[in-house]
Assembly symmetry: C5
Homo-oligomer: 247 residues x 5
């Protein structure tokens, strides 16, 4: 993703700042501390007020998806599952104990432990599905802080613009300052709309896509683990798993 994040942000910069400069604007006009304070401070305060602290923490972590490439985990997961399938058909479920102990992902470890415990396929599916459901709803809640920020930012921009216009109107007696006052008032609108549409909302959508991918991947894992638990042959295991990712 690293690969596409930087070009995307550069393109946004070129489009907006470049457009401004091309039209003969000065860069300084676009920089305004108060506007920044209102838009960023206001949006942040709304998010802080509406979100429990652990959700904010997770939401910030999710933003790292802009830094990392999407991992292609389908092939290794199918491979691993075929390994488990062959192993358990030959040596029984207890043979999975070492794999369960060395597994670092909590979701896979939970599944492997239940297999070792000899849990029935239906119980396994129920437990893993419930875990996945909880995971998905938590991740979505965390990702929503960016969507909310993208909704608050333009409003804060309008708030800033209205406050600016109020000041301008109070000082109508100095018509010379009118234009520049209005210009300044508009900068916070620019910040609000720009931050929201060039950064916050795209980030929120990127996170959503990442969550959808991860959920799909875990559904594939559930299918695989249940097929292993039912003792299906490796070919069936593979076909069931691939159906979930359309590969």
């Amino acid at each position: 993703m690293m690969k596409s994040t930087i070009p995307a942000l550069l393109l946004a910069l070129v489009a907006v700042v470049g457009g401004h400069l091309l039209d003969g604007g000065e860069l300084g006009t676009l920089l305004h501390g108060t506007a920044l304070l209102i838009v960023v401070g206001g949006s942040a305060s709304a998010i802080l007020l509406q979100t429990p602290r652990p959700v904010i923490r997770r939401g910030l972590e999710l933003a790292r998806c802009l830094r990392d490439d999407e991992p292609d985990l389908v092939e290794p997961l199918v491979e691993a599952m075929l390994g488990y399938s062959r192993l358990t058909r030959r040596d029984g479920f207890l043979a999975l104990e070492p794999a369960a102990l060395s597994e670092s992902e909590p979701f896979q470890r939970l599944a492997l432990e239940m297999l070792v415990d000899g849990v029935e396929p239906e119980e396994l599916r129920k437990t893993l599905s419930l875990d996945l459901e909880t995971f998905e709803s938590r991740e979505r809640q965390a990702g929503r802080i960016w969507e909310s920020a993208g909704a608050y930012a333009p409003t804060m921009g309008i708030l800033g613009a209205v406050m600016g216009l109020i000041q301008v109107m109070q000082n109508l007696s100095q018509p010379s300052a009118l234009g520049s006052g209005i210009a300044v008032a508009f900068v916070s609108t620019l910040y609000g709309v720009g931050f929201a549409n060039l950064f916050l909302l795209p980030l929120a959508n990127r996170i959503k896509a990442r969550i959808v991918d991860e959920v799909r991947r875990r559904r594939m894992l559930i299918e695989g683990f249940c097929a292993v638990a039912a003792g299906n042959n490796p070919r069936v295991v593979e076909r069931r798993m691939r159906g979930h990712v359309g590969a």
Copy 2:
């Protein structure tokens, strides 16, 4: 939550009022009784008209979530349930009678009473699920008064601004008063947008998050009570409960 409410509201104040002062505005410009009357009075009247009285009362109570920290009730609840599980497997369901009598939470008391009555697991799940569904729909309805207020407030702000502009336009003959008239007209927009986005909507979202948490917690309890009713061993009881909170 106390911990994050105060900083969030302070930050909002700093962002908006601070931004205004930094730009050389006077504090007095932002204070306007009529604008307050229109925005607060108008929004309140719309809420009063659309909401049955008991729902308003509950909605006001829900706003207390800004004062209290989220309780971490998962561990004590799992502990209590494991206690019930061990107790009933040893001494039968009647042994839960003292716990049922001393329980203060209505939801848990209902469940314990049904266990003492020897109700079947399926009937227990059905009754508790229905109770939870009713609870959730009532809480959401009550929380929605803040969401509605957050939707009405900006409109009332616009209403106030339009009324202000009408007056200004009526007196166009005194151009000296034009600017200050427009300024005053904009204050109610400021109030409407500000109240909605810095207080009402974040509060509404906080309440929604709190309800989602409580529902999740009760679903975990239902799972636990049903496992107890079915006489499952404590390990199963615990795994089922934890699946609902992803802990």
Copy 3:
């Protein structure tokens, strides 16, 4: 509800008209026949065009919920159901015939008649649920005329404002009339936004709340009648019914 309708509408009046007068506006400015014609006539014509006549009739009836208090029908309904339960357990279902004949509510009468006919609990539940579903979808459709009106009114207000501005702009040569022309143009916006947010939308939401309540009450009745049909003991009948209203 009478109790809260009048204060709510008074508060709306105080907020809007009071705010206008406090700011030194004249009452006359807010009265404008043409604006009223455009906003009310336009919204009404859109509703008439989109809604079949019987739905409009029912929608107007539903507005009476602003006049009547919410009936507290839970206790009498539970009482009545317990009576039916005891009666049928002692004397059989035919003993309900007098109750069926004297019942005035069509929904309860249908249920009692089916009990007298000796219909099976499952068939009873299916028939009553279907009836309830049809009822709910019809009531919601009827209530939606107020929601639609609340959506059309502000647009009609904008339509009126645009028409007003067009006239003002046509006569720019008389700058003295400019201000008052713009003022008049804005009045229809005021009407549209005000009617929608202080009356139409709150009414629509009130009606929705009323329908949700009635549906909940009927679901409770279905639960009760089915328990009676199954010959459950009165304690079970009561617990099942109360679960639906969270009482």
Copy 4:
């Protein structure tokens, strides 16, 4: 419906044009060919681009619901079904062959043919439900062209206004033409908002209501045909059917 379409459209005309004339506006101001070209042409091109040709054709047909009254088909349908019920209980399913051959509605004909073929009730329900589902999704898709048009029209109006304002601004040197230029620019907004809210959106909603009615009617038919297929007695057939229409 004829009965309510004409008055509704007349009322819309009176509200808008009447309001304009009452305020002393000239009719000519509201007529503007270019604005019409932009709003109607633009919306039509968007619809043409997004909709497959057969869907557009069906969408246009659906607009005829403004011309025809809603047929009251409940009673004749119940009557017909009771006839089928009595006939098949006496003479067997083959006796329906003449009815199947003479039936003109494809939905009823399909059902009657399957009855004659001796199809099982469950298979009959499945086939008819699937047919209904396909019908409903196609009709909704077709009706959506009016909803889309109602969404595009105001945007095209804004497009026209912006283009008008651009021209006005280019010619600021002739201030005398300013007002009339702005007035003309606003006419396309008027067309967009007016067409959408006084015609397109109400029509779209009317069509939706018609589809809901037709689906309800067909669900009632499915219930009836399945009861006939199961050989239920006429009283049951009638009760089941009426449940779907709340009659």
Copy 5:
């Protein structure tokens, strides 16, 4: 589709550009490089930031639906399926092997291979339905890039307009440039609203309609393959398939 794409785009051009010229505007006013850079560059950067690369690639491919006519695949598919049905009833499932090998569509090939493998009808339905579900969610995600672009474009247009107005306001001392400055500022609004409503959103809706069609077609295929797997007679196979397309 070719047939309707070109006329639709031409109509859009005539409506907008023609309208502009008819009103006496110059074509040059509508051409503005910076506005194009901001609207197209900004929207593209937002899409790039929010969408994984393979999804963008598929989204671009889907836009080809504007070039190709909708294929009428119902008849040939029903024909082919009847062929499979007759063949397998006579010679068994292995007789499908040549068809499986020569089939070019992956979906049909998967189904034929499973039939040759002698998979049970229920397993076949489950596997194909899962594959279809994955296909549908991926296609919708890809198509959504156009919907997102249609949402970002007008905002970018507003961004450009605000930036333009800021510059104009900075230079209020040269009133002669005021009008033309504002005019230029508005051009980016024009681009944003125009691109979105005359191209991006219609394209997004067209793609959605295409996906719905393809999903319907594949559901019909699933129905057919399952009937073949169950050994149903050709008449049943055909009736089941046609139910899905309402043909």
